[in-house]
Amino acid sequence: MKLKLPQGVRVDVVEGARIAVFSLKANRLRTVLTTMGIGIGVATLLAIVGIIQGLNTSFHRQLATFGANTIYVSKFPWIIKGDWWMYRNRKDITLDQVERLRHAAPFLTALSPSVQRVSDVEHGGEQLSTVRIQGVTQEYLAISGYEVTAGRFLTEADDETTRPVAVIGTEVADGLFPGISPLGRTIRVDNRTFQVVGTLSRKGKVLNQSMDLVVFIPFKTFYSSFGKGRRIEIAMAVEDASKLKQAEDQLVGILRRIRSTPPGQPDDFSINKPEAMAQTYEQLTGALYGVAVGVGLITLLVGGIGIMNIMLVSVRERTREIGVRRALGARKRTIVFQFLMEAASVSAVGGLLGTTVGLGTAKVVSLITPLAADVQAGTVAGGVGFAALVGLLFGIWPAARAANLDPVEALRYE
């Protein structure tokens, strides 16, 4: 006797496990089919959870490039909920308001108006389409998080004198000037010529939109080149993220005063923060998450009922065997263990199988689509553990039925 368990329990566990394995092997096809119910449940759950976790991770990584200490004001919110026309009918933000805001809000570490359009950009024979042309001032650099890799960024003097100069993103630089330095050369945007004075660091994609297919020109140059009829967004930065909430509250008051919004009326502008976007996004995926987990749970429930069903069949099939075991000295507890072990092993095998398939699916999805699946260790452990638990839970009733059979009746069962 190497094991130090009380003898009765040792018999229950060792014998229960032996019989469970024996019986699973004896009914291979049935085992596989039963297992599949649980397996599919776990696989569904893991695949969906993995994909959503992946989405969240990549979204957060993208948002991080925006900067956590930045805040933007415009007519439209970034994520429109409700009536588009209500936002459309708001008064435009004017350059005058931008200047008044600059003086009224000394807590901002940087502020820049920003206007944009999408155009084709050419140099020599090369042409790029759908490039974002953005008019900003010198301070925009600090807010945007780009770094200048060569030359310089736009200056106040560029803006004052409406110089036709441009600072370009990496994709524009690589696309129009392959292998040569773009500094000092010219690009054409809608028949207007700009001289490249600087290039920017790579920022990658946010929401599948390249942040590097971009041309920055001075704000006033933009106005004089492409007209004034465009929507102004105000980009701002505070010292650090902890000051953001306070700054937002103050900004609301200042902007209402500047735009003379009547008291009692709702704000006629939107304050946008990358951080708030993350929250909205998480609410969105959170709902999806809930639905997906619900579907997975229902599948598991169905799998569990499958296990219960097959265990009831197994108990009925082995009624005489149970009678014999009871006659030879098996206690009720021993019989319960035997069937619980069987149910739990089927489910655990299913859980393992489901985990493999689920992880595989998530992996394949991340390979063939832009979705980045990211399954965390906790999720896997949770999946397998949950499957075994489902098996145990749904095994209890059949096991109890087996143990409570009257030995006399069981022995007589045909």
Partner: protein, 250 residues
């Protein structure tokens, strides 16, 4: 007189009743049965179907408990024991032999014989040695790795007997042990019982066959839930002599 002093009686049954409730009706399967069986006896319990002999067998085998009365087995009052306690008693005191053999079909003869030892918590090595020895006793050691469906009826019943013997119980309890066998094979089994009796085992054999009961040194006849005869097997089985005794008393 059965209280205390009389330790030689292995089985003491005193005024046992067993009442079933079937669909609101009371069925009195045993109506006050009393007898004693000593160590080393070979006793047949005989009766027509419906006489209560199966109920009595279940009570004697601790698969069922009496509604009233007292049943002492090997000095222990088992008539009021819990389910778990009865499981231990079955394991330690009783070796069952069934009409339909009741072997586990998927297990080998050896594994079947080992089963009572498993529930007693005997380590695997010792189990195997003891089960092999028991199979040798019934001349089946050479078939021990076969499954029941690879064995003849007589061989199966001998495996069952080995299983009953292996845990060295204080009595063997056989329920129509030859009922599913042809007469030649049945005869083999009866001879095996005689040998076991010679070797000092206590045997209780439940049957409706007078011919089988007649081979036993002692028989108890049951009718309508009462003992109507108790005496030498031949006389009780064939209804000759004056073996009809007052039930109870002893």
């Amino acid at each position: 007189m059965s209280d205390g002093g009389n330790a030689s009686k292995l089985i003491e049954v005193q005024d046992i009743t067993r009442v079933f409730h079937v669909g609101g009706e009371e069925v009195r399967a045993l109506r006050g049965v009393s007898f004693g069986i000593s160590r080393g006896e070979w006793v047949a319990i005989i009766g027509q179907s419906g006489s209560g002999k199966s109920t009595l067998m279940n009570v004697l085998g601790c698969l069922d408990t009496p509604s009233s009365g007292r049943y002492t087995l090997n000095g222990k009052d088992v008539s009021r024991m819990s389910d778990d306690e009865l499981a231990v008693i079955r394991n330690e005191e009783i070796g069952f032999i069934f009409q339909t053999f009741q072997l586990l079909p998927r297990e080998t003869a050896l594994a079947n014989v080992e089963l009572p030892l498993v529930y007693r918590g005997i380590p695997a090595r010792e189990r195997k040695a003891r089960a092999t020895a028991a199979l040798e006793k019934v001349q089946l050691a050479h078939r021990m790795h076969h499954r029941p469906n690879e064995l003849s009826g007589g061989q199966r019943q001998r495996v069952a007997i080995a299983r009953a013997l292996v845990a060295e119980p204080s009595m063997l309890l056989a329920d129509e042990p030859t009922g599913n066998l042809d007469s030649a094979t049945g005869e083999e089994i009866v001879r095996l019982f005689a040998e076991l009796h010679q070797a000092g085992n206590t045997l209780v054999l439940v049957t409706h066959e007078p011919k089988l009961a007649a081979r036993c040194p002692r028989a108890i006849r049951l009718s309508d839930g009462e003992v109507v005869a108790d005496g030498p097997g031949r006389e009780v089985a064939l209804g000759i002599g004056q073996s009809v005794m007052a039930a109870g008393g002893t």
